[in-house]
Symmetry: D4
Subunit: 253 residues, 8 copies
């Protein structure tokens, strides 16, 4: 994976400073150096190097102590990069605040530990309704943690087109759009008819009855008649934020 | 059900011209007079009287001969009312044309036998895409057969809003709208944000993959964020046409 | 959207009292005047003008304070129109009562703030079982708030046909029917065989097992063998009330 | 399983005419005597003795030759009992007619080979629409083959209640009812409100769109608000006929 | 519906003691006499006469007070017939016990108020696992309330066939079997291979993961390879008990 | 079932020490000896003899007292074999600990009562993420209770391949692999491309939105492009542990 | 929409060369100029100007003649831009070839009419299996038509990781990746663990049984444990190609 | 991956016969040597070495020519190992027979090219019904091609238990069982109650209506109450054969 390290190893073999069997062990063990074994979790320390993004901790189903331990292990690798924690219960957010005083940026259950990176490029995050706000918030903070600038527009559902049209300048400025909507999830189709910007659609579980926990919005977005729409999992503001930030950063060069 | 007939019967009992047991039999047998038993089908002859609409023959799964026989039985009750035949295969349409020369109005598999009624009120029928045309056609001809006038607009999907906005006068004139769309089925939501006209939404099976035979459009329409949208079965242009015609006729008074 | 306003603007340009760039800005900004930006929500102030209906606040997922703030913004636009709040938790209802003393009409979680409009036309609301009552109640109060008169019949399920037949006069009087049923949702089909009135069917989540949260009733209503039945989302008494009121008002002229 | 045979075997052991190991083998092999191994199928010869019903051959997915071979094996066991063949393609029906001339009773793809038993008790079979006829036909012929008398009523859907009410005498006479319906499948609920007879409901795949191949009718019947309704698989006229015949025969004593 | 009552009415008309219009009103109002309007519910007082079964109160979603009021209305019609209450919460059971001291027979959430009828015929109730017990209990008490005798066998799943085979005498004695099973729901198929008794299968929501709340058992029972199996809704011990009791009573003559 | 016992019985008949009818009774009653009837459950005492595995108690839906009673009945049959209790609530675990002091091995809700058997063969248990740990734990303790040795690897998801590759020696050593994963469930496919060991895949309900309670992982594993993957129910660590232990023990000879 | 055009119009009003009402008509009619009404379809002529992409014709469900007419209308607007036709039947491809000789680039049912644009940026298209080829081909040709360069890698499924690892240079070079896979759809997760490039995942309907027409792959991709994965509809190579080309073009600047 | 090859390479570096950069290239290129690039497919040549199994060609969706080309490429690597082709259309089987005369073993659409390996261990394959035969056949021939001996039992459904009990010796002899069943898929549960052998269950698409293409059987097997059952995809006889052969070979040692 890391060609330079392998080159040095091979040079050591060529130079006789490293035996064949030892080199064999090192090559086999190589990947082991990429994570820290905490017993209950193997923390991937090299992902940032591989992908250019920070490690992320999905806090749902983990105890506050486990989450803090994982974040601590990551922070010890180098505190200049931010660590993003998503779906953190209140107790977990509090535990992080105690462990990392003055280092947190919070948006409800989404938390960044450490300094936010300088923004490169612009992600536009649109939410169809007030109830879609938390998912949009997850996308906003994620995109910031992954290095993009963010502009946010709320409550621009398709049943009141003039509100959406008023947000046209934001749509035009963005390098990538995240469009969050529940219920029938029609917003990405309408936005996709207005602009040629790549659109990452996020269905939310907002709704009831035949929305089936976000299924209606999910299917609607997948079958959008507007091209240039790709879809993330229901309520997955995080995934959309990552995707959009990667696009925006690349466009910014 | 028919109070006049029952009143005459009771008067006959009171007058002694009809015995108690005979009256009892007549009351019990009353409903039997409402249909013609063709062996393979019981044709409901009184529905028109009950509901103000013509009888309809759903031709799918019936042989041409069966369909012709049913239509003939209905036409013999009184040829002034039109008979609507839906989902007729080409062979069935041909058989009807042979049996009722000069009496057919056709729109693909939808056929009206007999004179179309004078239009009362206006139904607007919108279709999102070219492929939704046949379902829209079924709605158009059905609404005409059920006594309403119809205005039709085609190919006004949400990904090109200006085409929809150009149809605004039709939206404003209609007493009831039928909005037909496949794929994500977002059109009724957008139309519902523009006008206060009652909207009957018809999902179509146009699409592929996650449209699951029209399920995506169906769920999208059911969970529309715009109020005043009610939904018919997938591809059910007939049901929407009946519903809208009934509304339009009532509004016309 | 508003042609008079645009006409005045153009006249000002023609008259020289308004510059080209200023007019351009005003045309672009036009839609912005249609809503009030509350920070957490964009309240659509012009919807009533566009659609003839009051704004509605869907309270589920909003805090009592947010709901009160939205209602207040709407009420400040002109208190002569009623504001409808649906799915309000008890705390939200209480907060509204404190903020708008003497102005509330309540039916469980459905609340109208301000005076109910004079009734035009008649909506008949039928519920199949006692358990369907809350959804029927939402339809009843919604139809009233949207300007129609309402007649309500409860507990007329298909397994006891004589109860339904006894409600025949209501069925005949109504300009539009809302038929609410859970479990197998057969009531709209039976009613649709009795009368030619447009029927808005509302499946409810009443039931268990294979009712799958209202799916059985939903599918049953969508595939009804009676024409003239259109369907709203599961438990969506609100949507059915809006739809039916719009029909009834139009029929009343 | 067969106590008499086992008693004789044990008596032979007690009498010394059968050794212990031989008896052990015979006990183990016992079940083997219950079927004929045709290579491609093990024909169960004792089922009739166990359950009081004839063997049935489900012809779908079998070649005409295979079906004829299985029927022949069964007929050779004793021709006094009828053999029922369901879902037979035309070629299979023709092959059976060649192999068993003069012995067939046919109803489309349902065929009885051999004499029909004398009827005991009465099964009423109702079909909601003309299109449900083939499934009703399978139920009718199956119930006859399984020993019950049958009365059949067709085209009595819920959207025309007077047709159903006219069939009341049949409903009252039957020992068990089979009610066949597609689309929303509401007929069993209405019938169940009229009579206290056990009702076996059969959903059919008649319909389109949200009927999802009979799923709507199936769910509707399972969640019927009328007690005393049990449901068979979609299009399973056979299973309903077996069930109803068993009830009717038992009631007849 | 009630021919004797109608005969008396007609005789009164013939005798002149009743005018035509008055008779017309009485005929129209006739069905109204069949229920008591409690405001929140229309209690069907004539169902017992129509179907031979007692009225049943489904207590889920009703308050204790509502349930007691309905039961009281029913008991006042004549206390010789039992009233069955199902899915009663503990508070409802307690309220019933206070209102009808000494008159309750309870099995968890299933309650009978009033004397149980003398048993006619025999229903066998089998449950596959311990966890299926409550559903089986609902079937047992329902069948008793509807007039049948009951034999109950528990914990006879297909993974231990010898336990099932030991229950063979019960299987043979029963006039109708209720077979209750969760998870894969295979028990009815195996029982159906052993006996020719009509089998009412009840899937339960026991299980997890791919049992999807009883869906796996439901589909399994519907597609059973054994004929003579009909299926009730998931967890619907009540419906199965009604069905089986009706069969058993008829067989008993 | 038990040939030796039957042989002795037959010998007794042959020797005259047992009469024919008594032997018949004994043969019929044989299966009855295989379980203990506790009233609320029939405990299968012979399963171990039949299958080579201990009895297992699925504690979900059982009271602590019921679970303890069942375990006690099993332990009284012979304490040398372990008893496995799964899905035990904390109160049930505590009750078991009180009843069987010093005899418990616990892993959260999974408990073994009595001595663990000596390990034969090796099962490798892999979990994709930290959140999948409890299901993996159920598999680990089950496989041990069923007689296999176990090696466990945690947190080796496909998004960090080097962690998986580092576990290669475990993959190579195992006689059978249990691979536990939620979300998209891709791990078994990747492992199946690396080794030829039989893989039992266990989807977990870890995830949200379109994971639909484990459905996404379940479908993914069932459609794996790698051959040699068989799948257990969602979250069914127990079933996978049993399966893998049986394979491992057989391989160990 | 088009500010320059509006500015000119307003200047004409200010200058008196255009009357107020005429300007009002022009503003209202503006959107009408954006499409050509072909009777059976409204061709959107301005989409390219709005979104920077060519018009696309989805040929499924259109006759060859209709498709040719639409393409002709588009080509007449200016032949320098390519027109993309997808899902064209063989007859449609032939008709296009006859109408536009020497202007077609074909990849099975995907056709470009007119010159391909110069490539900007690089899209990498990966397909898991040979059977996924057609969907990958649609993505490849679409991305080219939308202005990006493309590199294609085939048959790199997760069950043979070394084939995927060998494609690493392509993964590293691409500005955006399209990853196409059927069956369990695990490939995007594995690729997402290797690189930080935005990944557009396309599930295909390749598979059988529990793949349910691509549903398994769709759910798997939506729930991918790797961030930075967004998903298109099943078999929607077109949508993925559009999305990826837009990203790549923006990155290229 | 291949340690010996890597050891030799490192030794060459140590010995100076291979330069560092050349070794680096070789290490990087290593995986490339594992497949043959045929243009339309990358044939994995090393899978056999990695997993101990032959390469398999899934012929569905491939042309006869493509299938023959892939098989030829594989056979050229060394003809001593068999090549398995599944789901081959008749034309593909014929093309293979022409290309590899005298080398084919066929079972319908399943074909082995080249000599079958000597059998190690025993796989028992059971099919519930005649219609399940083709899937069972795929399992049988696959298991043979993967090196196991096979015993096959057909038509042993749960509705005739004595046929299954007669097959007991096969159940007892097998090292691993493949149990194939459609409809309700109950057979694995019953077999799992009889023996402690690992059971690989294969649901088939045999059935109709609520079997939903094998879904009923699939869910039934996944939720089996018998432990030790793992499940393959619907109709996936191949996967089950591979799995079972791997178990059987390992047990045989």
């Amino acid at each position: 994976v890391d060609q330079d390290e392998t080159r040095r190893l091979l040079a050591a073999v060529a130079g006789g400073s490293l035996g064949v069997e030892a080199a064999l062990d090192r090559l086999a063990a190589g990947p082991l150096q990429g994570y820290a074994d905490l017993g209950f979790a193997r923390v991937d320390l090299h992902r940032g190097l591989r992908t250019g993004d920070p490690e992320v901790v999905y806090a749902e189903g983990k105890t506050p102590a486990e989450t803090v331990a994982i974040v601590t292990a990551l922070r010890e690798q180098g505190s200049e990069r931010a660590t993003l924690v998503t779906r953190a219960a209140a107790a977990t957010v509090a535990a992080l605040a105690r462990s990392f005083p003055g280092e947190l940026t919070e948006d409800g259950p989404t938390v960044v530990v450490g300094p936010l990176p300088a923004p490169r490029g612009t992600v536009g995050v649109l939410a169809a309704g007030t109830s879609d706000g938390p998912v949009a918030g997850e996308a906003v903070l994620t995109a910031r943690a992954f290095g993009a600038g963010v502009e946010r527009v709320t409550d621009v559902g398709v049943a009141g087109l003039h509100r959406l049209l008023a947000a046209r300048p934001v749509l035009d400025r963005a390098d990538c759009l995240v469009v969050v909507a529940g219920m029938e999830g029609a917003l990405p189709s309408v936005v996709g008819g207005l602009v040629g910007t790549p659109i990452v659609a996020v269905p939310t579980s907002v709704g009831y009855g035949a929305s089936f926990g976000g299924l209606a919005a999910l299917l609607g977005m997948l079958t959008s008649c507007a091209p240039g729409v790709a879809v993330c999992n229901i309520d997955n503001g995080f995934g959309a934020g990552v995707f959009a930030a990667r696009v925006a950063r690349r466009v910014a060069g």
